[in-house]
């Protein structure tokens, strides 16, 4: 009756999995260290002058694409394994009835670690609110989940540097915590759509059956699954983004970006945030552009503000959330998060 092998029940003994994963990491490391000579060799094979604009752009492209792909594979796999220890149901249980403050901090952290897809934003939102998770705490989760994600962090780490990646992580979490805290303090529960409040008061949601315990091999497979899924979604964005970055890298004059997006132009931060809101792309598409802009003298704060605004405030997500939030509440949400991003932008331009 059953012809195909079901995926999450591997028949290999556990040690072959540990061995396989270890072997993979070792090979990964060996190849990763050879990327610079490999890319230079590739460009040397092409009939272009290495020192020309084209040569410059090509070298950038051939080095960055494999580097980013390799980093993504490793980190997305690791995050897939880590996330298998978390679930929206467990997170809800941790957060329900939490007070603001501690609740916001927990929610932002769990937003990063809990498996989450923006297509489930509405059911998750209702699930949280109806189980007594305060509105502000729920928002901390919903802001952190898309903004601080492993794809953004890997790309920042790989293309811009670890300092910027760590800073992004810290400030992304900071904005999620603060914006959620502010929304909680404003007591806007009345601004939910009526029907959401009804579910809220008569909360009697069934609990999902406790899943059977996963073995480590199951978790590895979930990690592989995560890699496959992320790649099928973002590979085109990465290549397009890096190609775009390579073009800027090779052709756009230094001082142009410094003039438009430099630290001296105070209006550049709000302009970057405003531009970012309607833009809809994922972290993968925007970061290679970010790197190239930085390389050409755009100010770090401006670029980070642009990136955060593109990732955290997206029009399609607002349209999805419109089903549960009134327009007024959405406006407050956008205003709060945008102010946080603005503050980060200005702060960075001031410091760096």
């Amino acid at each position: 009756m059953m012809s195909d092998i079901s995926t999450p029940h591997p028949s290999h003994p556990r040690w072959t999995w540990h061995l396989g994963v270890t072997g993979f990491v070792v090979i990964w490391w060996l190849v990763y260290r050879q990327l610079v000579p490999l890319s230079e060799w590739l460009v040397a094979q092409l009939p272009v002058d290495r020192a020309s604009h084209t040569g410059e752009a090509l070298a950038f492209f051939f080095y960055d694409v494999p580097k980013v792909m390799m980093l993504l594979t490793l980190i997305v796999f690791a995050m897939g394994v880590v996330r298998s220890f978390f679930s929206p149901e467990k997170t809800r249980a941790v957060l329900s009835g939490r007070r603001e403050g501690v609740g916001n901090i927990l929610a932002a952290g769990l937003g990063v670690l809990t498996p989450f897809c923006s297509c489930s934003a509405v059911p998750l939102f209702i699930g949280f609110v109806s189980a007594g998770v305060p509105l502000g705490v729920t928002f901390s989760f919903l802001i952190a989940a898309p903004m601080v994600n492993e794809v953004a962090l890997v790309l920042l780490f790989g293309l811009v540097g670890w300092q910027v990646a760590v800073t992004y992580l810290a400030f992304g979490l900071g904005i999620a915590i603060l914006a959620g805290f502010v929304i909680g303090k404003l007591r806007l529960e009345g601004w939910l759509q009526d029907w959401v409040r009804d579910i809220h008061s008569g909360a009697n949601t069934p609990v999902m059956p406790e899943g059977e315990r996963l073995t480590m091999a199951d978790r590895y497979q979930l990690g592989i699954e995560a890699v496959r899924e992320i790649f099928s979604k973002v590979w085109i964005w990465i290549i397009a983004g890096i190609a775009m970055g390579a073009l800027i890298h090779g052709y756009v004059p230094e001082d142009l970006m410094a003039r438009i997006m430099g630290a001296d132009a105070w209006w550049s931060v709000p302009a970057a945030v405003a531009m970012g809101i309607p833009m809809y792309t994922n972290a993968a598409g925007v970061i290679p552009i970010v790197e190239a802009l930085l390389g050409k003298g755009a100010a770090l704060g401006t670029v980070l503000a642009f990136m955060m605004s593109v990732i955290a405030l997206s029009l399609p997500e607002m349209i999805i959330l419109r089903q549960v939030l009134t327009l007024r509440l959405i406006a407050v949400f956008i205003a709060t998060v945008a102010s946080g991003i603005l503050a980060v932008g200005f702060l960075f331009n001031l410091i760096f």
């Binding site: 009756m1 929206p88 149901e89 498996p115 489930s120 109806s130 579910i199 069934p206």
Partner: protein
């Protein structure tokens, strides 16, 4: 006959899940009625927080991601 509800806002994975249920039912020759639920209110009331969710004869058996084929057959056969 079993009634299977697939909870999801109409994303690609929800369609794939419905397709998988159909195939599993055919393999087991179990008669099923598959109902796709995309209303956020109904999804929420069913207690589904990550989509797609699956309920067999009113009992929630799965939430979040594509279901495992072997498990799917288990639920349908039960």
């Amino acid at each position: 006959m079993k009634t299977v509800k697939v909870y999801g806002p109409g994303c690609k994975r929800c369609d794939m899940t419905a397709e998988m249920i159909r195939e599993a039912a055919d393999r087991l020759s179990v008669e099923v009625v598959i109902e796709k639920v995309s209303d956020p209110r109904e999804i929420a009331v069913a207690g589904v927080m990550s989509t797609p969710g699956i309920a067999v004869d009113g009992k929630l058996v799965h939430a979040g991601g594509l279901p495992d084929k072997a498990k799917l057959e288990e639920w349908l056969a039960a």
